[in-house]
Amino acid sequence: MLDRLVARAAQLPSYGELRWHANHSSRLMMRKGVLLANGRSRDGGVSARLYHNGAFGFAAAPADDEATLAAVIATAKDNAEFAGGASAAALSTAAGGGAYDYRSKRAPLSAEQRVEIVRRLDEAIRARYPGLVNVDIALSSHASEKILANSDGAATYSYVPRAALVVSMSVAANDGIVELYDILGGFGEIEDQSFDEATLAPWLEELHEHLRRKAEGGQCEAGDHDVVLDSALAGILAHEAIGHTCEADLVLAGSVAGDNLGLQVASEKITLGDYGGRGPDGKSSFAIHVDDEGTPCRDVAIIENGVLKNFLHNKRTAQMLGAEPAGNARAFSFQDEPLVRMRNTCIAKGNDKLSDMIGAIERGYYLKRSTNGQADATSEFMFGVNCGYEIRDGKLGRAIRDTTISGVAFDMLKSVTHVGDDFRWAAGGGWCGKKQPIAVGMGGPSIKCRVTLGGRG
């Protein structure tokens, strides 16, 4: 297939990419012992994207024979001409290559073995914790397989899998149902993960203990507070608070990051980057070496010692802002065009101890786990928090119920006083939504800062 795409790409009438792309996924979902989802899916096909007079034409179809390939190229050409832009300068010609196959070398688990993981876990949880109102268990996998060639000579293959196990428990409290979930897993296929009893038992015990304390806890007090963000939250902070604001398509639209390049936007303790490969330590939940425009991936320093240094680009935004693309153009499926996306985004670890951070707060909160998040052009971010504790006089107090934290990133990051010597990639990997969903890696250390909390307390 790669040879066919390379041959066709060399004959494209203008700059363009050809991509064969298939997503392979599986999902088992059990609720209270009832298997609600038990299946797999595959979605694949070919696409062509052509650049003409400053605009793109794109076409895709769910087959990969020569006739289909010729048809999508012709339709993409027609679409590019229909887009009808004005003449524009040429795009970057950096061309990546290589094969990056992260398929598991272990024997795949059978359908029976996968169901058995979920069934036995469900039985064990309900036997060990009989007071639960509900138990949800989801075991899922996703792999993105791509073959890409462009008219500048890029030619690459990749297969990038990851898998996640999610357990959610609910219990009845005095004022209603209280729920908590956690995620295990990350890079690789299901058979590459440690879902054995020895790994799961202490993990479940910790999850249940946090749930028990959360049920006995209360609403947090709305307003501005000193907080310690656990390293489990640092990734979503890097992604939502900074990463999105520094995507060059948002900058071109008017994001405040555009007014702050070269300026101090954070404490000198903050260094934040977006990385190719599997991140600076090679342990992220996601891998990328060549993006979906064929650009080889380079690391991007977004913030260095508190100073905003760079934005994230595709070929088009790099051309418009006079930068070099570093491999941030990514597409979710064969039907999707590449967009400016993050890859492995993280805050670099510092030298501070988590215990010192908690000890430094007289009245505030220790926030341990996040749910969903959102960014904004103003750099005002938010993310949900489903597990946390009060801090009173430097010690952890009662648990808090679900809340949301927010802040203006370029203000909040200046309030950072401590950056932890710990570091963690978000478990199970993260997904980001921006016209298309996309797999991302995100991580960082514990951080002490000041944010706004929602709540009725």
Binding site: R31, K32, V34, L35, L36, N38, G39, R40, S41, R42, D43, G44, G45, A55, F56, G57, A59, A60, A61, P62, N79, F82, A83, G84, G85, A111, E112, R114, V115, V133, S170, I177, V178, E179, A222, G223, D224, L252, A253, G254, Q335, E337, T371, N372, D376, T378, M382, G384, N386, D402, T403, T404, S406, G407, K435, T452, L453, G454, G455, R456
Partner: protein, 431 residues
């Protein structure tokens, strides 16, 4: 690409039986999609795609397994049938696992079969040409004018057959305002319609939001913390209603986590609030004639004058819970009230016009907290200023009870339709 056909589905059902299925069903969806993407300056992408997705579900001795593929390559179809059979064999038996027995409907045909691309392009060009004079500070990105032609076909081994086709136009505008160093939050609105939108300034109520966006450059936090009123806009409700519908779903009833699990026939909302599920309504371009089990959909009241009339229960959960099936598809419609938006605002002592919720997903108890984005502070019946860094916290169970006005004005998004809803008792706070 060939159109869906009974032959293709019948072949799948026959091969499923050969693979050991005691029952089987298959759902095929063929889609042709056309999109123009533009920012505030020009069209930057024209995209057209085709796809055909088929989900095959096999039942074997009370167990269920499924596989989804796209295209019709014979080896992929064979692999999917085998994968579904293997999954079913490995599954967990449940008496609720079965295919449906329901009447086959005449084929449905809704909306135009193809887009008028030139006319759509002319609309976008007119919109972009007039934007600088109408909204000089507005910046758009990733805005879309689309057309989707979708054929869906269902068959099961009990002889149930369904087919429908829907052709619809879609629109999404994502925008912000910028004036020198002043920047507003992004706002986004989307909707769908069988017909082309008469104006890209008025589709899905976007005109009001664009005007509000330009008035939001100067904004500040709402002072302090107080319990006040919120006027929830139709656009904000699109983000909030799925949580309430989720709490009324069969999934939540099975979990035992729904606060409404024992509330059928009881008042769970203000008498001013009525919610319908309306998948058959011709108002909704994104409705459905039948659900994923091939069961014909129907419109019915869910909450009527504040009283919970029915849950949203699909085929599997109706069997599992021993309750009647009411819904396999959700298209929510909150019935309009008798108050104008202007009168609602005039009636607020202190509160906000709550335009977008950006917050953590509400929990099972329907507690919520998040930022009130693109929103405005109201005091003594007047909109005072755009808000920033302002959070709202409350509980949807209580909020539904505390509704004191529902507007005459309604926005139809193509898959749901909502009025403005005014409620009291929400905690509003800032830094």
């Amino acid at each position: 690409m060939s159109a869906p056909s009974n032959d293709f589905l019948d072949q799948i059902l026959a091969r499923a039986k050969d693979a050991g299925a005691t029952a089987a069903q298959t759902l095929t969806s063929r889609m042709r999609y056309f999109e123009m993407e533009f920012d505030h300056r020009s069209v930057d992408l024209v995209r057209s795609t085709e796809n055909e997705t088929t989900t095959i579900t096999l039942f074997r001795d009370g167990k269920r397994g499924s596989a989804t593929l796209n295209g019709r390559q014979p080896e992929e179809v064979a692999a999917a049938i085998q994968a579904a059979a293997t999954a079913a064999a490995a599954g967990v038996a449940d008496p609720a696992n079965d295919i449906a027995d329901a009447p086959s409907l005449p084929p449905g045909d809704h909306g135009p079969a193809a887009p008028d691309r030139a006319a759509m392009r002319a609309q976008v060009d007119e919109f972009l040409a007039s934007l600088p004079s109408r909204h000089p500070l507005l910046r758009l990105r990733d805005s879309l004018y689309t057309f989707t032609d979708q054929e869906t076909e269902f068959a099961n081994s009990r002889g149930l057959r369904q087919r429908e086709r829907r052709g619809r136009h879609g629109y999404r505008a994502m925008f912000m305002a910028k004036d020198g160093p002043l920047t507003t939050s992004f706002n986004a609105v989307g909707g769908s319609s069988f017909s082309p939108f008469p104006s890209l300034y008025e589709a899905a109520g976007v005109g009001r939001l664009m005007a509000e966006c330009e008035r939001s450059l100067q904004r500040r936090p709402v002072a302090g913390k107080f319990v006040g009123d919120v006027i929830i806009t139709p656009h904000c409700l699109t983000g909030l209603m799925p949580s309430i519908a989720g709490a009324l779903s069969g999934q939540a009833l099975l979990a035992g986590s729904s606060p409404y699990k024992d509330k059928r026939g009881e008042r769970i909302a203000s008498p001013l609030f009525s919610l319908d599920n309306a998948p058959r309504s011709e108002d909704f371009a994104e409705g459905s004639d039948f659900d994923e089990f091939g069961v014909p959909t129907r419109d019915l009241p869910i909450i009527e004058d504040g009283v919970l009339k029915d849950f949203l229960i699909g085929y599997f959960f109706s069997r599992k819970l021993g309750m009647p099936q009411t819904a396999g598809v959700r298209n929510s419609r909150v019935r309009p009230g008798e108050t104008s938006l202007a009168d609602m605002i005039a009636g607020v002592k202190r509160g906000i016009l709550f335009s977008r919720f950006s917050g953590g997903a509400p929990n099972d108890n329907l507690d919520f907290s998040g930022i009130a984005k693109n929103s405005f502070y109201i005091e003594d019946g007047e909109v005072r200023h755009a808000s920033s860094e302002t959070m709202v916290s409350g509980n949807f169970q209580q909020l539904l009870q505390d509704i004191h006005a529902v507007s005459k004005e309604v926005v139809n998004f193509g898959d749901c339709a909502y009025p403005f809803v005014a409620a009291s008792g929400v905690t509003i706070s800032s830094k």
